[in-house]
């Protein structure tokens, strides 16, 4: 395992893009963790005398509010900083939920085959035939808007990706010698599936989990933008964007900044994911 990580990092270091990705991710994590310390204001604190103040480096700005304030007079910088907490935890939650469910179903489908496999694959095909946002919208429409329901919806949409990848990998592994050996030693299905086979399916799983972060963050922000995700006064980037829409002409900074944050964080996870795929899949690496 240690060698695996060392080798992986060695490969990653050669890829500039993924190093940029890692650095941005680490910085955002630090910002999210240190939010209460580095945020200059309380993100929900309303300064009624400073409504829609432009950023401090623009004429009319106030040095007290670096990125200006929003329509209710809340400090934009502080809201963006706290927004990183929401986005990163949303991404983490989505990946965790879809990874656990998807891996479990994928391993079972690939290992047992037959009827179980057909049923699981039929359902994942069904979910995949619906556009992800539409499916998430349907789920949120049923359960009601809110950040928790948005996370559940986006996770369900992400499950099929994991199922397909793990299933294919397990099907390739299950007839290998070490699996037969384990069976001869009297290992049960559960042990063979999750202790013998699963660790050998890690490479594509890591790539998919990284890319799942960016999808999860993007989809949850989209739901927030449509008014179906995080609700006020939570400082979530997508929700902030949707609130800012009405002020696009008079206060463009309110629209610009949250989107830049979403783009940067999504981009960094995509950069890392691409790098990981190149590092972990030698077959693809030759081509690029």
């Amino acid at each position: 395992m240690k060698i695996f990580i060392k080798e992986l990092f060695f490969e990653l270091k050669k890829n500039k893009g993924s190093m940029i990705g890692i650095v941005i991710i680490i910085i955002s994590c630090l910002v999210a963790i240190l939010a209460p310390i580095i945020a200059p204001h309380d993100p929900t604190n309303v300064y009624t005398e400073y409504l829609r103040l432009p950023p401090s480096f623009v004429t009319g700005g106030n040095p007290q509010f670096f990125f200006g304030t929003d329509d209710l007079g809340r400090d934009l910088l502080s809201r963006l900083i706290y927004g990183s907490q929401v986005s990163l935890s949303v991404g983490f939650a989505v990946v965790l939920i879809s990874l656990v469910i998807g891996t479990f179903l994928g391993v079972i489908a690939g290992y047992f085959g037959g009827f179980i496999d057909k049923t699981i694959m039929r359902i994942t095909d069904l979910i995949m035939s619906l556009p992800s946002i539409l499916f998430a919208i349907v789920i949120v429409a049923i359960m009601g808007p809110g950040i928790t329901n948005a996370i559940v919806a986006v996770s369900i949409v992400a499950v099929p990706n994991f199922v397909r990848i793990i299933r294919a990998q397990v099907m390739a592994e299950k007839n290998r010698q070490y699996v037969h050996a384990a069976r001869l030693f009297g290992a049960g299905h559960f042990r063979i599936m999750f202790i013998e086979i699963l660790p050998n399916c890690m490479a594509p799983l890591i790539v998919q989990a990284t890319l799942g972060f960016s999808d999860g963050i993007l989809n949850c922000a989209a739901l927030g933008f449509l008014g179906l995700g995080a609700q006020a006064p939570m400082s979530e980037w997508g929700t902030m964007l949707s609130d800012a829409r009405s002020y696009i002409e008079s206060s463009p900074w309110m629209v610009t900044l949250p989107g830049v944050c979403i783009l940067v964080i999504v981009l960094s996870f995509n950069l890392l994911g691409d790098g990981l795929r190149d590092a972990l899949d030698p077959r693809l690496k030759k081509q690029n």
Partner: protein, 338 residues
């Protein structure tokens, strides 16, 4: 042929599954479905029972599903609670707008994306290649609901070049013929009455939404073309073609591109789903009167028959396009035929 008939047979459980999802959609919403439909103020008991009966909610669930399926096959998708129009007519009215926007976006992303991808593959590891690949990764990561707003901010608010919302200026009343404004505004009677102004207005309204919607497809197509071309260019028969003294142009456009196209076409086909997803967001931003905006509005208004019917139709369309792609793929790729 066996492959195709198997694909078509596979459709049946998928379509059943989709109708099952949309059937349970209304029934899974917490609370009484009748009250959900009537509204939160409630109704007197007589009307309540009437409504329950007219919706068929007093029957056993299996029978309800059977009736629902029969209604779908008859083209009856229910009635909007808000407008009292049939869901199908509401859909038909808005669908051309989404198709027009989606087609234009996809058309331009193909037109620009494939040449860019080819060029990047030929000039591999050049500055252009790096530039294109980085910008396509940015395009791919773009939150398009924000991108649309930035386009509005720059082109409409700052430069005043393009309109902010809608499909055409309000002063024009175009009689609906095909529902595609780019075609309807070019009909002889429109041109004799108004000249080309309505057409130009429709075109100007299309620019920003189609850029917003086309960004992700463009990025995906350019990346896919590049990697698919690189793979083909590395094959042995490319070396043979070169050794035979063929011109570079011929090698790239006739020999390489043709083989590289198969995965590119699959990618383009898979983009239909993401175009619909994008349309939901793009139409909301640009107030584009298509099905995406319709669905979002119906969720805000809790117009459940519309959500139910809309989800059913959209997923049906996507499943059908996927099948269509499989068929095209089958004819494009000789390996699939035996």
């Amino acid at each position: 042929m066996k492959y195709l008939s198997k694909k078509l047979l596979d459709l049946i459980p998928t379509l059943l599954g989709i109708s099952l999802i949309s059937f349970f959609l209304i029934r899974l919403i917490p609370g009484d479905p009748v009250l959900n439909l009537i509204g939160e103020r409630g109704a007197d008991p007589v009307r309540y029972l009437e409504m329950k009966k007219s919706l068929g909610l007093d029957l056993p669930i299996i029978e309800q599903f059977w009736i629902y399926l029969k209604n779908i096959l008859r083209g009856d998708l229910g009635t909007s609670v808000i407008s009292n129009n049939s869901v199908w007519s509401e859909f038909a009215e808005r669908f051309p707008a989404t198709v027009e926007l989606g087609m234009i976006s996809l058309f331009f992303s193909i037109l620009i994306g494939i040449p860019l991808g080819i060029f990047a593959a030929i000039k591999r590891n050049s500055f252009f290649d790096y530039f294109l690949m980085s910008s396509s990764l940015i395009g791919y990561s773009m939150p398009i609901f924000w991108w649309g707003l930035i386009l509005i901010l720059f082109f409409s608010v700052k430069l005043g070049l393009t309109p902010v919302s809608g499909r055409i200026d309000f002063i024009y009343d175009i009689p609906t013929f095909t529902g595609f404004y780019l075609i309807d505004t070019l009909r002889p009677e429109v041109i004799t009455a108004e000249g080309f102004a309505p057409f130009i207005s429709a075109l100007r309204h299309l620019i920003l939404p189609s850029i917003a919607l086309g960004t992700i497809p463009l990025a995906v197509i350019a990346r896919m073309t590049r990697s698919s071309m690189l793979e083909v260019l590395g094959e042995d028969y490319m070396r043979t073609a070169k050794a035979k003294g063929m011109s570079k142009k011929r090698i790239i456009f006739i020999h390489a591109l043709r083989n590289a196209l198969v995965p590119i076409i699959t990618t383009i086909a898979l983009l239909f789903g993401s175009i619909i997803t994008g349309a939901i967001l793009t139409e909301t931003i640009f107030s584009w009167p298509g099905i995406g905006k319709w669905i979002v509005a119906s969720i805000t208004a809790r117009d459940y028959p519309v959500i139910q019917g809309g989800v059913l139709i959209i997923s049906f369309i996507i499943v059908m396009t996927n099948i269509l792609v499989d068929i095209i793929y089958y004819f494009l790729n000789p390996k699939m035929r035996n």
